[in-house]
């Protein structure tokens, strides 16, 4: 009987801790997002001219502030996503959707950044219809991370998104003609807090969590991810999604 009581205690303690953790993540999320929302709204109103016309120079400054608020939002999301993945709290909401259409949406969102860097952004799957059963938001997050990284670390040439159908799985490739990764660094690419290809000096450093989150999300879908790369010759990130719902 004592044993039984202890088991109940353990379950109840486990639930209490899980509840406490959820509340903590909610609180941190609230405390980070609320001031960001106020800053973003205030600056947006001034930039939009809702409080009077703004000169070109102050507008440029405030555009920079807005971009950095978005950067803070991305980092906040990455840290919170990571903490949820680490604690196994990411619950996939699988729906049947056209992944080619989603890829097109994500790629379209990066067209301007690619143009600004003089890069060719190719989407080789965007005209087809490929239905998959997966969590649409999480797949978008995977693509945003991989395409964003590819653009960030490519100075000349192209970034290419492609899809091939394999036995039992769809295989996605995000390839680039960028800086590439040294052979000795390849095994560490998906480790948390690892960062490669960073150029010393000013600019966004990132959290080193993006690829770790991507790997976690791919694996939650029952897929696998790998990287092929050579220093100075670009990188290729390949991930699979099973055709059958395995989870």
């Amino acid at each position: 009987m004592i044993g039984v009581i202890l088991v109940f205690r353990d379950i109840s303690e486990g639930r209490r801790l899980a509840q406490q953790e959820t509340e903590f993540v909610n609180t941190v999320s609230h405390e980070l997002r609320t001031p960001l929302a106020i800053v973003k709204e205030g600056i947006s109103q001034v930039v939009e001219g809702l409080h009077g016309e703004l000169g070109a120079e102050p507008k440029d400054y405030l555009d920079t502030v807005l971009r950095n608020v978005d950067r803070l939002s991305r980092i906040t999301n990455a840290i919170l996503d990571f903490s949820r993945l680490e604690s196994g709290k990411v619950v996939l909401k699988k729906v049947l959707f056209d992944i080619a259409e989603l890829s097109n949406e994500v790629v379209t969102g990066f067209r301007q950044s690619a143009k600004d860097k003089g890069l060719e952004l190719r989407c080789l799957i965007c005209g087809e219809k490929v239905m998959v059963l997966a969590d649409r938001d999480k797949i978008a997050e995977i693509l945003v991370n991989l395409i964003g990284n590819a653009l960030k670390f490519t100075d000349h040439g192209y970034v290419e998104v492609a899809l091939t159908e394999q036995a039992g799985a769809f295989e996605f490739t995000v390839a680039d003609s960028g800086r590439g990764i040294a052979q000795e660094d390849l095994p560490k690419v998906f480790n948390k807090f690892e960062q490669f290809g960073r150029v010393a000096g000013p600019g966004e450093k990132g959290t080193g969590l993006g690829l770790s989150i991507v790997k976690g999300l791919v694996e939650q879908h029952g897929g696998r991810i790998r990287v092929e790369s050579e220093l100075g010759k670009g990188s290729k990130f390949i991930f699979t999604l099973p055709k059958k719902d395995e989870k």
Binding site: T34, E48, V69
Partner: protein, 125 residues
């Protein structure tokens, strides 16, 4: 002109959003700074739409929508939740509570305006 009730305990945020809704959307905006005040104003002001924060003192967003849905006078007023967490549990709770939509802070202003327009149109306002 559609009337929107904006309920959030962050005073500066409410003032800014109220200004945007009036200036760019032409909406008539009423503000409240906690759940109880939100409920009182929902009953007295008869808004066409309520934008409702979740984490608030006195009564949180879930309690407010429960009371709104429980009263014939306010049951049909659509609610857009302001969420500050994208935990799946939170989003499930928002859906289950009967909100017409939700928006995660911080958001792009056009996204909020589009959601408001869509919900109002769905409700023939």
């Amino acid at each position: 002109m559609a009337k929107i009730l904006l309920v959030d305990d962050e005073i500066e945020f409410v003032e800014m959003i109220a200004f945007r809704l009036a200036k760019t959307g032409g909406y008539d905006v009423v503000s409240a700074y906690d759940g109880e005040e939100g409920l009182r104003k929902a009953r007295s002001e008869h808004p066409d739409l309520i934008i409702l924060d979740i984490w608030m003192p006195k009564k949180d967003g879930y309690q407010v929508i429960k009371e709104l849905k429980g009263s014939e006078e306010t049951a049909r007023i659509p609610v857009i939740f302001l969420a500050a967490s994208n935990l799946p549990q939170t989003l499930e709770k928002v859906k289950a509570a009967g909100g017409a939509d939700y928006i995660l802070k911080p958001f792009d202003p056009p996204v909020l305006m589009t959601k408001i327009k869509t919900v109002l149109e769905k409700n023939n306002v």
